[in-house]
C-alpha cells in the first residue's frame, strides 16, 4: 500500500479553535497526566475506526485516510486506549507521560 503521505493537508483550521480550550496552561499541565499517541503507518490500513471512536474526537484523517493528531490536540488525549485496543492492525501505541512530548505526526 503506497500512501502519499507528504501531501497531506495541514491540520484543519477548526481544530485551531479548540486551542484555547485544549492547550492547558503550564499549571494545569502539571496536574493532568499526559499521553502520547503514536501511529505505526506501515501497518495502518486507514480503516477509520480510531478517528470515529476516539472519545475526545481528536484523531483526524488526511486525504489518504491516514489518522493523525494535531500537535495542539495531543494534550487532550485522556489515555483511555480505546483507539489502541480497537485498531485491528496493531498500529496505535499510547504512552503515558512521555517526557518530551514529540509530534504525533512523524510520517515524513
Amino acid at each position: 500500500m503506497v500512501h502519499d503521505t507528504k501531501s497531506r493537508p495541514a491540520a484543519k483550521p477548526e481544530v485551531g479553535e479548540n486551542k484555547t480550550a485544549s492547550a492547558p496552561s503550564t499549571a494545569q499541565q502539571k496536574k493532568r497526566k499526559l499521553h502520547r499517541v503514536t501511529f505505526y503507518y506501515k501497518w495502518c490500513k486507514s480503516c477509520g475506526l480510531c478517528s470515529a471512536f476516539c472519545v475526545k474526537q481528536i484523531i483526524q484523517t488526511d486525504k489518504n485516510g491516514l489518522p493523525f493528531i494535531a500537535n495542539d490536540d495531543m494534550d487532550r488525549c485522556t489515555g483511555c486506549r480505546f483507539c489502541e485496543i480497537h485498531c485491528p492492525d496493531f498500529a496505535i501505541t499510547i504512552q503515558n507521560k512521555y517526557p518530551e512530548r514529540r509530534h504525533s505526526d512523524d510520517r515524513q
Binding site: M1, K42, W43, C44, K45, S46, C47, G48, L49, A52, F53, R81, E84, I85, H86, C87, P88, D89, F90, A91, I92, T93, I94, Q95, N96
Partner: protein, 294 residues
Amino acid sequence: MLERAEIVRKEYLRHDKKFPHVWCPGCGNGIVMGALLRAIHRSGLEKDDVVLASGIGCSGRMPTYVDFNTIHTTHGRALTFSTGIKLAKPELTVLTVMGDGDATAIGGNHFIHAARRNLDMTAIIINNSTYGMTGGQYSPTTPFGSKSTTSVYGHVEHAFSIAELAVTAGASFVARSTVYHATHLEDMIRLAIAKKGFSVMEVISNCHVQHGRRNKLGGAVEMIKGFKERAVRVEKAEKMSAEELVDKITIGVLADVEKPISTEQYQRVINEAKKKAEKIAKEKEKNGIKRYEE
C-alpha cells in the same frame, strides 16, 4: 517498561510473517486477535504452553500471525485436531479459533460433541454472520431476511444462536461479547481460558465487506457502532421481555457450571488401566507364566 501495545506487538506477533495482515481494513478479526493476545498475556501463560488451532476462513488466518504453537487445520475440523492435541498433551492450554461457518455449519457436529465431551479447551468463535472468505454466502448465523450471495432475495432460513447452542450441548462455560466491547471481550476470553472444562466464547464481529455491504449496514464503523447500540448485559437482559430482546445482543457470561472434565477422566482411566495391567503381569509372573513381551 514496554507499553501494552508494544508488548503485544513485540512479544506475541511473528515478525517473519507479512504485516499488515491479510484482513480487510476495519475487520473485527484483528480486534479479536488483540483481545486474545492481551488475555493470554494477562493470564500469565508461557507462549510455549499455548496452542492456537484454527479452521479455514478469514478467522482461520489468526494462528499464522501469533507466536504460539499453532496449527491451521481443515475447514470445520479444528476442534478435532485440538482434541487430539489436548489428549496427547493435557498440560497445554489449547485454544481453537473458528468462524461461524467453520464452527456451526461444516463443523457443527464436531462443535456440539466437543461441548458434550467437556474437554478442557477453549473455543473462540468469531461470528460475522457470513462466509467471509469465500465471498459472502449465507452461514448458519445469517439472520432471517438478510441478503447474501446465496440469498439474494433475502434469507429464508432462521439463524442459530451459537452461545445458546453451546449451553444446550453441555459446555462448562459460555460467554458472548462483541468487537466493540474490546475490554469486556478480553476479560471474557481470560475467564474462558481460566475455566476448567469446555469454554465457548462467541464474538460478534463485523464483515462489512461481505455482509455489511449487501445489507446496507454500512462500513466497519457503522457496524461496530451497531453492536454498541444492540448490546445488553446479561444481568439487564434477564429483566427484559422476549420482545424487548429481539435484535439485541446479550453479552456476558451465559453459563458457568462445574462438571467432570473428560480430559481428566481420561487420565483416571489411563491410570486405572495401567494399574490393572501391572497387577495382571505380577500375577502371571507369580504363577510362572512368562509375560508376553519377555
